[in-house]
């Protein structure tokens, strides 16, 4: 395109390059500038690695926090598995009525399963475990009620839904009392939510910091190439052409920074896993820390690359434009 001399054919037109070859050349230039910016980074390996490490380590904190929240969620899910409603039945029911009631409750669509502990079994168990065996012998009748343990369906395990089911069970004629420790569950979930929100805020701040750090590094890059940019503008380079290598630099920061995040997160989790295993063993739990899966690693990589590009984009838009030949 010649702006001043319409008749003058320029560049690619002049040498009659086909649209296809121009397309190829365009991507070839992209590839050259992409590799070129990598070479530029390799010329100052220490400085480049420092910026990449800042990016990578900044993202390591949110990534690790994410893993911790994820694991907390899975622990929480285990706790919720245990959320059962204990239903104490009236003493005056006979065995027939008790088993009919148990069957009726089992048909309720909010209920996954029920387990009946009849009073005889309960007494036997109590006698065995409590050590009050002889004292119990003196009793005339069994003081324990029949107990039905009700496990809600998966979708009825949230505190609110479980509470609703509890109320429904309490309404039953056969029921003396029903208990669900919802308060405990609610407190636990509130704490998990607080931790999650806190981590999200922190992650957001760290992402902003990454953008600013990359932006500032690219800004320094640009000002160190001030003369070169001026010459390029004088011989007819568009802003887009001049910006591209810097954008690729941001891309590389993100690519390598993302890998550093993976490694650092894995190292940190390995470091923590020993302590976590000790705690889990003390609680007789099989719980183990789960690290990042492939999809999560992909998201972190994309985030790192996105932040690198965003930082460099902000810097080039502002500073490449500002450099004008004198």
């Amino acid at each position: 395109m010649s702006v001043l001399f319409r008749a003058r054919q320029q560049g690619a037109q002049q040498v009659k390059i086909s649209a296809w070859r121009r397309f190829v050349t365009f991507w070839l230039h992209h590839a050259q500038q992409c590799i070129g910016s990598l070479g530029e980074l390799a010329r100052y390996p220490f400085a480049s690695l420092m910026t990449m490490a800042v990016l990578g380590l900044s993202l390591t904190l949110p990534a690790t926090l994410y893993v911790i929240v994820k694991n907390t969620d899975s622990v929480g899910a285990n706790f919720q598995q245990a959320s059962e409603i204990t239903v104490f039945l009236r003493q005056d029911l006979n065995q027939q009525q008790v088993s009919t009631f148990a069957k009726r409750i089992e048909l309720n669509e909010a209920v996954a399963q029920t387990r009946l502990i009849d009073k005889a079994t309960a007494l036997a168990e109590f006698r065995e475990r409590s050590g009050f065996g002889e004292a119990l012998e003196t009793l005339d009748s069994n003081p324990l009620p029949d107990v039905l343990l009700v496990t809600p369906q998966e979708e009825h395990r949230s505190p609110a839904a479980a509470e609703a089911l509890l109320q429904e069970l309490k309404q039953q004629r056969e029921v003396d009392e029903a208990r669900l420790d919802v308060g405990w569950l609610q407190r636990f979930q509130a704490i998990v939510q607080l931790v999650r929100d806190g981590f999200l805020g922190l992650a957001l701040l760290l992402c902003i910091a990454v953008v600013l750090i990359v932006g500032n590094t690219i800004r320094l890059n640009i000002s160190s190439k001030r003369d070169e940019i001026m010459v390029m503008k004088l011989v007819g380079a568009t802003d887009a052409y001049i910006q591209r290598p810097f954008l690729y630099t941001g891309l590389w920061y993100g690519i390598v920074g993302g890998v550093i995040t993976w490694l650092a997160t894995a190292a940190l989790l390995w470091w923590l896993s020993g302590a976590v295993r000790d705690i889990a063993d003390l609680y007789d739990s099989q719980f183990r820390l789960t690290g990042l899966n492939l999809a999560e690693m992909g998201v972190i990589w994309a985030l790192a690359i996105g932040l690198g590009l965003l930082g460099s984009h902000i810097a080039v838009r502002k500073h490449v434009r500002a450099i004008e030949p004198q």
Binding site: M1, S2, V3, L4, F5, R8, Q10, G11, A12, V15, I17, R21, R22, T25, F26, H29, D227, E228, M230, V231, M232, K233, L234, V235, G236, A237, T238, D239, Y241, E324, P325, Q326
Partner: protein, 225 residues
């Protein structure tokens, strides 16, 4: 080719560099622009190459009002103008080949086509064997010739030179001017800003003279006399 109509330029600090300057340069013409330093020579070149915009008046190139050239078109407009500077403005960390090829690669030439053109341009300025050298390895005159090769490599219809012989001895200066004459002979319009009056005196070209921002002689009256 170049037309100035009542052009004035006031810089941000309030310094008035040009006052009502009007002149025109025909296509295929070669002319010198002279005057003391600070007379406005550089400002005239900057207005033509869109490095500055006039405060009042119009600058036209090939009939196009430069006021109409939008910011994002400037890069494309500059590809029509070959520019040569006193300080060469070469990239010192690139080879002679890379420096000269720069405008071509920016325009999207393929490497093989660029190679042919760069070779031809460097042959033209007598540096065909210095492709792989770095500018630091060359003398001042050779560096200036690399700058000229870069300016002409994409065959622009207009060449601007700002003190192209500023740092060179008379013999080298004459060689550089001879190069400009050769380009002019094949139809390129050339405008050379210089305060080297002895150089101009030896030539029989039109000379435009600026003094304190005014055009005191546009070189035409002398010709007709």
């Amino acid at each position: 080719m170049i037309q100035f109509e009542q052009v004035s330029k006031v810089y941000a600090g309030g310094f008035q560099a040009l006052k009502n300057v009007s002149f025109s340069l025909e296509a295929g013409e070669m002319a010198f622009l002279t005057g003391h330093s600070g007379a406005g020579k550089s400002t005239v070149l900057k207005l033509i190459s869109l490095m500055e915009r006039p405060t009042t008046g119009r600058v036209l190139i090939n009939g196009h009002d430069l006021k109409r050239i939008k910011r994002n078109q400037i890069a494309y407009a500059r590809r029509d103008i070959g520019m040569i500077f006193q300080d060469h403005r070469l990239l010192m960390d690139r080879t002679v080949f890379d420096n000269v090829a720069l405008p071509l690669l920016i325009e999207g030439y393929s490497m093989s086509e660029a190679r042919k053109r760069v070779q031809a341009a460097l042959e033209k300025v007598g540096l065909g064997d210095k492709l792989r050298h770095y500018p630091m390895m060359l003398s001042g005159g050779e560096q200036q010739r690399v700058g000229i090769a870069r300016a002409v490599v994409n065959k622009p219809p207009l060449l601007l030179a700002d003190e192209p012989t500023g740092n060179l001895d008379p013999k080298l200066s004459a060689e550089i001017i001879k190069l400009f004459e050769e380009f002019n002979r094949v139809g390129v319009s050339v405008l050379i800003a210089t305060h080297d009056l002895s150089l101009i005196a030896r030539m029989r070209y039109r000379t435009l003279t600026l003094k304190e921002g005014r055009m005191i002689d546009d070189g035409l009256a002398e010709e007709s006399a």
